[in-house]
C-alpha cells in the first residue's frame, strides 16, 4: 500500500451545503472532525460515516468520505454489518440522543457489548431537535416541552452510565465548546480497537439553548468540569481545590484541603471492572453540578470483527475452502442410472 496521501480540512469537506440552524453546536463538532481527519492519517475512501435520523444524523452528508444517512435509530446495526463484512474500513457512527438512546437504544447497547470496531459519536443536546423540540431520553425531569407542557416525568438516561453498563470498552465524554478536547477524544476513540463511544454535549440553540452553559462556558469550566486524566488524582476547581474520592464504591466530591491529596481517587481508565468508572459517571445527574469529562474507560477486549474473521479462517483451515460439489453431497446420496 502506498503512503496515505496528505489531506487538508478541505479534502474532507463535501460539496453539500450545511443546513443546521445558525449557531448550532453541530457546526463546531463538524469543524473539529474535518480538521482532525488529516491528522489521523487515514484515507477518505476507507472512511465511512453512518448515521440514523435527526439533526445530528445529517453529519455524513458533510464529510467527503463514504457515508450513509440511514433510518432513525438503526445506524449501529447497519454499521455492525458493514464492519463485520469489511474490517478494512474505518466505520464511524453519528447520532443524537433520541436516535441512539430512544429508538436505537437496543442497537447501541448490543453494538457496545459485542465490541465491534465502530467509533460512535453521540451528540447529546437533551432534546429532539429535528422534530422541533420534544423532550428526549436524556432530558431532565420536569422539562417543559411541547409534548410535556406540565414537565417531563421520565427519569433520564445518563449515556455514560448506559455505555458502562453495557460494558463498552471505550467510553468518553466531551463538549462542543472545546475543539481541542473534542479532537483528543475523537482521536482516542478512533484509535481504540473495538466499540468506542464518545458523548458530546451539544447545544441546540433553537430548542434547548444553553442546556450546558453552567458547565461548558469558558469561565465555568474550571469549576464545573472534572477532567479525567489517566494515572492522575481526580481534581478540579480554579486552583484544583476540589477532588473526587471513592467511598464504599461511591464517588464523592471533596475539598482537597480537608481530606488531603493522598486519598483522592487516582483515575485508571484501564481498570477491568467498570464499577468505579460507573460511580464517577453518577457524580452529576443534572447539568448544574460538576460533571466529569474525558476518558472514563479504555480497556482491551477481543474485537468482534476479528473473531468473525478468525472463525472463518479456522473453518477454512479445518474444512478447506468451500466446495459446492461436496456440499451438495454432504447428506446421504444415491445414484440412479
Amino acid at each position: 500500500m502506498s503512503a496515505v496521501p496528505v489531506t487538508t480540512k478541505k479534502d474532507w469537506s463535501s460539496d453539500q451545503e450545511v443546513r443546521w440552524c445558525p449557531g448550532c453546536g453541530d457546526y463546531s463538532i463538524l469543524t473539529a472532525m474535518q480538521l482532525l481527519m488529516p491528522e489521523l492519517e487515514v484515507r477518505r475512501e476507507d472512511t465511512v460515516f453512518i448515521s440514523g435520523i435527526g439533526c445530528a444524523a445529517r453529519f455524513p452528508y458533510y464529510m467527503n468520505s463514504y457515508g450513509m444517512h440511514s433510518i432513525h435509530g438503526r445506524s449501529p446495526a447497519i454499521a455492525t454489518g458493514l464492519a463485520m463484512a469489511r474490517p478494512d474500513l474505518d466505520v464511524w457512527v453519528v447520532g443524537g440522543d433520541g436516535d441512539m438512546l430512544s429508538i436505537g437504544g437496543n442497537h447501541l447497547i448490543h453494538a457496545l457489548r459485542r465490541n465491534i470496531n465502530l467509533t460512535i459519536l453521540l451528540f447529546n443536546n437533551q432534546i429532539y431537535g429535528l422534530t422541533k423540540g420534544q423532550y428526549s431520553p436524556t432530558s431532565e425531569v420536569g422539562k417543559v416541552t411541547k409534548s410535556t407542557p406540565m414537565g417531563s416525568i421520565d427519569q433520564p438516561f445518563n449515556p455514560i452510565s448506559v455505555a458502562l453498563g453495557a460494558e463498552a470498552t471505550f467510553v468518553a465524554r466531551t463538549h462542543d465548546m472545546d475543539r481541542g478536547h473534542m479532537q483528543e477524544m475523537f482521536r482516542r476513540a478512533h484509535d481504540h480497537q473495538g466499540s468506542a463511544i464518545v458523548e458530546v454535549f451539544q447545544n441546540c440553540n433553537v430548542f434547548n439553548d444553553g442546556a450546558f452553559n453552567a458547565i461548558t462556558k469558558k469561565d465555568a469550566r474550571d469549576a464545573m468540569l472534572i477532567n479525567l486524566t489517566h494515572g492522575e488524582p481526580v481534581r478540579f476547581g480554579v486552583d484544583g481545590e476540589r477532588g473526587v474520592m471513592i467511598v464504599d464504591g461511591t464517588a464523592k466530591i471533596v475539598d482537597v484541603a480537608e481530606v488531603g491529596i493522598d486519598v483522592l481517587h487516582v483515575h485508571d481508565e484501564t481498570a477491568p471492572d467498570p464499577s468505579v468508572a460507573f460511580s464517577i459517571s453518577r457524580l452529576a445527574d443534572d447539568r448544574e453540578s460538576p460533571t466529569p469529562v474525558g476518558v472514563f474507560r479504555s480497556v482491551q477486549r477481543r474485537e468482534y470483527g476479528e473473531s468473525v474473521s478468525s472463525q472463518i479462517a479456522a473453518a477454512q483451515d479445518t474444512k478447506g475452502p468451500g466446495d459446492l460439489h461436496g456440499l451438495l453431497r454432504s447428506l446421504p446420496t444415491w445414484d440412479v442410472s
Binding site: 446495526a77 463485520m84 469489511r86 456440499l327
Partner: protein, 649 residues
Amino acid sequence: MIAWWVPLSAARRVRFQKTVYLREGTHVTDIVDRTEGVREVERIIIRFAGDSGDGMQLTGDRFTSASALFGNDLATLPEFPAEIRAPAGTLAGVSAFQVHISDHDITTPGDAPNVLVAMNPAALKADLHTLESGGTVIVNSDAFEERNLAKAGYEHNPLEDNTLDGYTVITAPMTSLTKEACKDLGVKTRDAERSKNFFALGLVSWLYSRPEEPTMLWIQEKFKGRDLVIAANEAAYRAGNAFGETAELSASRMTVRPAQLPAGTYTNINGNTALSWGLIAASQQAGLPLFLGSYPITPASDILHELSKHKNFGVRTFQAEDEIAAIGSALGASYGGHIGITTTSGPGIALKGETLGLAVSLELPLVVIDIQRGGPSTGLPTKTEAADLMMAMYGRHGEAPMPIVAASSPSDCFDAAIEAVRIALEYRTPVMLLSDGYLANGTEPWKLPDIGSLPSIDIEFASELNGVDSEGREVYWPYVRNDNLARPWAIPGTEALMHRIGGIEKQDGTGNISYDPANHEFMVHLREERILKIADKLPPLEVMGDDDADILVVGWGSTWGAITSAVGRLRRGGTKVASVHLRHLYPFAPNLGELLQRYDHVVVPEMNLGQLTKLLRAEFLVDAKAISKVSGQPFTAAELVTKIQEVAQ
C-alpha cells in the same frame, strides 16, 4: 454426519444385493433384498404419530432415508407441536411425520395416510381422522393405560371398544418388548424404554420391506462412542422386525418398488437446507461473499443454523439482537459489497418494513427471506400458511416496489434462492423470497444439479468517475443508471468514488438530496419502472396440461405439488384442465396476462384467503377465483380435485 451412496446398477428393478459405501469407502455392507414374495403396491402413505418425547420425527426421518436409498420417490410432511415440551401424553404434545413413498414420480406427501403408527392414545385421538377408511393402525398397546387414556380424553380404551372397527389394527406392546430385548445388555430400564421408537421403526420396516442397513449404519455413526445406546437401539429395531415375523403379520406385508427417476445422483432434501445451499451457490456464482443477518424464529431458524455451519465458504452469519438489526446488518454488508441476506417469518418481516423502505431508496442488493407460517401474530408458528403475499407486495411505507420470488417445492428452494440473489445483484434492489413452513421442513429426493449448469451472475463494482459537475470537474454520481436502470455499486474502499447515500429523496443521476416536487414524481415512477423492467428478461411461463382446456389453475409457492398431482388426476379422468405456476410474483412473467385471457375459468389455490387472486383480478381484470385453505395444513391433491371439478361443472 454419515454420507453414503448406493450404486444402483443398470435396471431399476434390481435385486438389492447392493453395496452401501460410507463416503470414505471404509465400511462396506450389503443391502439385502427382503421383498421376496411380498405384495407390491404403487405407493404407501404412512403417518408416524406420538408424543413429542417419543422420537417420531426421527423414526419418520429414518424410514424416509431408507426408502430414499432404496430408490423410491417420496415426499414428507413433518408436523411439530408449537410447544417444545407440551405435557406428555396430551393432544397438544402430539408430533407427527407423514411420508409418501412411491414407485413413480410424486409431488405431495399424500392425501389420507394408509397407515397410522400411534405411539400413545393422544396420537390415535389426534390423527385417526386423517387415516383412509379401512386403513391400518399400528399402536403401542403398552401406552394405552388409564392415565394416558384420560389425558387423551378417551373414556374407554379405543383398542377395546368399536373405535377402530373397520380398520386393520396391529397392536404391539412396544415398550415392554423393547425392555425385554434390552434386558441383557446392561441398559437401564428407563434408557431402554427410550428405544421404543426403534422398535416401531423395525416393525414398520419389516411390514413395508425397507432395507435395514442404512438404519444400522446410521445408529452406529450417530451414537458413536455410546455403545449401550447403539446396542439398545439395534436390539429394539431387531425386536420390531422379529415381532412382525412371529406375530403372523405376513398378510399385511407389502413393498413399493423403486421409482423410475431420471438418471443422476440424488439426495433427500428439505426446503430450508436447499435454500441455504442455494444462497451459497449464488455467492459462488457471483464471486461475492454471503452475509446473513438473522434473528431466530420458527420455521426460518434452520437457515441460520445451516449457513452458520459453512463459514469455510466465507459465509458470515450474525445472530442480531432483533429482526431490525438483522436486516440492518445485512444492508450494511451489502453496502460493503457482500450479498446481504436476512431470514425470518411473517412477524419478523413486519419489523423489517422500515429498513426495506430504506433499501428501496438506497437501491442496494438485499435478499429478504420469509418462511411463512400461520398468522397473524404468533398464530400457528409450526404450521404452514402463505398469507404474507400482500405484505411482501405492499407492506411498506410509500411506493416501495420490490421483486418477489417464490419457491414451489423443497428442492426448488435451491433454484429460487439463486434467482432471488441474481435479481438483487443485477438490479440492485431488495428482493423478497417467499417459502413456507411446509417447504421448509418437508423433504423430497433431489437430483443434484451439475454445478457447471448453474446460472452465472455477473457483477462489477463501480471503479470510475461517471459524471461532470457544473464546474466541469469529473465526479462520481451514485444514481446514474445502466440498461437495467440499475445504479452503479461503488463500495467503500474504492478510491475517488466517495459519495453519500441516504433515505431522503434524491435527484436521479447526482444522488443529491432533492425535495423538488417534479423530481419526486419522477423518482417514484422510476423506482416502479425499474422493477417492472425485470420482467423483460424473464422466461415466458409454460402451461402444463391440455391445450384445449377450459380451466387454468394458477399456482404459486408450495401449492405446486398438490396442483400438479390434482391436475394429473383430473386429466387422467378426462377433465380438460391446464396449470401454470408462478415463480415471480412481482413483476409477473411477461406472458401471464395473455395466458389468463385464454381460459374460461381461472382458479387459484392459495393457503390464504385469495391474495394472488386479488392481484390477478386487479392487474388483468380476469374473473379469477380463489380456492383457499387456511388450516395450517398444505392442500392435498384430493381436495383440489374436488374443488377444481366444482368449477368445471
